[in-house]
């Protein structure tokens, strides 16, 4: 399994042709207390870069873009009642949705752990 990051601070963990998507530790730290997450519905067809989810902190709403193209398998139902999971474990239990990748080669354009860490260090 490998994890990739976008410049917009989403991550996708790829296992075969299934990806799990969330926002990065850096993103949650910038957003502050998260009070609401809207995740995409099962079966939704998305293209890389589409806005597919919304995350709201106490102070602002932000769109979340899909890092890859594909079909949504499921949204993280736990976030409906406990959006604070995104603050507590953004790159684990606070994932947003799972997706079947239609073009696994798309991840080649994304950053790996160390490239993303370097990207964030310059922000």
């Amino acid at each position: 399994m490998s994890r990739y990051y976008t410049e917009d601070h989403e991550w996708v963990e790829v296992d075969g042709d299934i990806g799990t998507v969330g926002i990065s530790e850096y993103a949650q730290s910038q957003l502050g207390d998260i009070v609401f997450v809207e995740t995409p519905d099962e079966g939704k067809e998305v293209s890389k870069g589409d806005d597919v989810a919304v995350v709201e902190s106490v102070k602002a709403a932000s769109d979340v873009y899909s890092p890859v193209s594909g079909t949504v398998l499921e949204g993280n139902a736990a976030l409906a009642d406990t959006p604070e999971l995104v603050n507590e474990d953004p790159e684990g239990d606070g994932w947003f949705f799972k997706i079947t990748l239609s073009d696994p080669s798309e991840v080649e354009g994304l950053m790996n752990d160390s490239a993303y860490a370097e990207f964030v260090s310059k922000l």
């Binding site: 917009d8 601070h9 989403e10 926002i23 993103a27 502050g32 207390d33 009070v35 609401f36 809207e38 919304v54 995350v55 709201e56 902190s57 106490v58 102070k59 602002a60 709403a61 932000s62 769109d63 979340v64 873009y65 409906a80 959006p83």
Partner: protein, 387 residues
């Protein structure tokens, strides 16, 4: 990920935007940074929006005591013969009847009855009037006063005076330990106090719905006072983010958002600021329009909404009718940390303004529903006389 909705506190900021003059620094600027404050542009200053997090700071203020730096606000002194009458020509307050030492909420009105600013003024024993106006409005207010007040009235901007607010149920414990005597004040009462050789003007007032104090202190002494206050176990520094969520829960409108030149005291549900003698005698800007609106009722009225579900509906969202036509607007909104649900202030048609009315809202292509509720969303805990 991209931020769609800027922090409410940052939008509509007339002096902090790009291409504008450099931001001024607060007397406590270095202090805020040393305490982990995340600084943002607001009202022409770099100001702390949060320290440890808005939610934690909000809840801390509700249960203990939060220290806010509100030095961006304008502190003014008016003096000269006939100062009460001269100011009454610009606002609907009964300044002549205001008891010395007791702050009063009022409004600076435009010729058409629109609201130029909301403010607090206090008659002082020496006959002068002390006033605190919004930071984002202060330069416009000063220009307005200088243009409209007679020459014999002097307007002084106290630029070397900082302003702190200590808010929360334990504020009185922390402050009275440093400055004995403040505990004798009640809500909306103030006085002069001494602290380490400095003269402080302290009133029991604030903008969070909690008991607390506002402290006008010479800028040269504010860092020492902030240190002394935060050395008390009850006190933590709190940023503008929590100030905004606290004041929203307390039904306290924010100028530039819930109030502006398009709103009148009647539509803004601030009729209490129209004092009886002034309603009878008139002589303030917009008098005829405002009195007519009092008679017939406003077209739009400011109300409090509780949003169904968990998603916040924020400033700028539309209030819509059954056909989807915009009939009103959300002017403040967010997730209420104490109430634990999304709340908002909105202007709605008068027919929909009664408590219990169902409201439909449109935000970013999505429909939300809400109910008009009695404000404040969280009960005030002011310490009143005789309580």
């Amino acid at each position: 990920m991209s931020q769609q909705v800027q922090d409410q506190l940052l939008s509509g900021d007339p002096e902090g935007g790009e291409g504008e003059p450099a931001l001024a620094l607060l007397a406590l600027d270095a202090w805020h940074r040393a305490h982990g404050g995340r600084m943002v542009p607001f009202a022409g200053y770099e100001m702390p929006v949060q320290y440890e997090g808005i939610m934690a700071e909000h809840l801390w203020t509700r249960e203990s005591a939060g220290l806010f730096d509100v030095s961006h606000m304008g502190q003014l002194i008016f003096s000269g013969p006939g100062v009460e009458a001269a100011l009454e020509a610009l606002m609907p307050a009964d300044i002549a009847a205001a008891r010395p030492g007791n702050p009063v909420y009022s409004l600076l009105l435009a010729e058409n009855g629109g609201i130029l600013d909301d403010l607090m003024f206090t008659r002082r024993d020496d006959g002068s009037i002390y006033m605190v106006v919004n930071g984002a409005c202060k330069w416009d207010d000063i220009a307005h006063f200088r243009e409209h007040l007679p020459d014999e009235i002097e307007t002084n901007y106290l630029e070397d005076q900082a302003l702190l607010a200590l808010q929360g149920p334990k504020a009185v414990d922390a402050l009275s330990r440093l400055i004995p005597g403040v505990e004798a004040l009640v809500f909306m009462q103030g006085g002069l106090f001494q602290w380490q050789g400095h003269e402080l003007w302290i009133s029991r007032s604030g903008y969070t719905g909690e008991d607390g104090f506002e402290i006008s202190v010479p800028a040269a002494a504010v860092e020492a006072l902030a240190d002394a206050l935060t050395a008390q176990d009850e006190v933590k520094p709190i940023g503008l983010g929590a100030r905004d969520s606290l004041r929203l829960e307390a039904d306290l409108p924010l100028y530039g958002h819930d109030l502006d030149t398009e709103t009148t005291p009647v539509s803004a549900a601030l009729g209490f600021a129209l004092k009886k003698r002034r309603r009878e005698e008139g002589g303030f800007p917009g008098y005829e329009r405002i009195m007519a609106e009092r008679e017939t009722g406003p077209i739009l009225k400011r109300v409090g909404l509780v949003i169904d579900g968990r998603q916040p509906v924020r400033e700028g969202a539309a209030v819509v009718d059954a056909d989807g036509t915009e009939v009103g607007r959300v002017t403040s909104g967010g997730f209420a940390p104490t109430a634990q649900k999304p709340i908002a202030m909105a202007y709605v048609p008068a027919a929909l303004s009664a408590v219990g009315s169902r409201i439909t809202l449109a935000q970013r292509g999505k429909i939300h529903t809400a109910e008009v509720v009695q404000m404040p969303f969280v009960p005030h805990r002011y310490v009143r006389k005789g309580a």
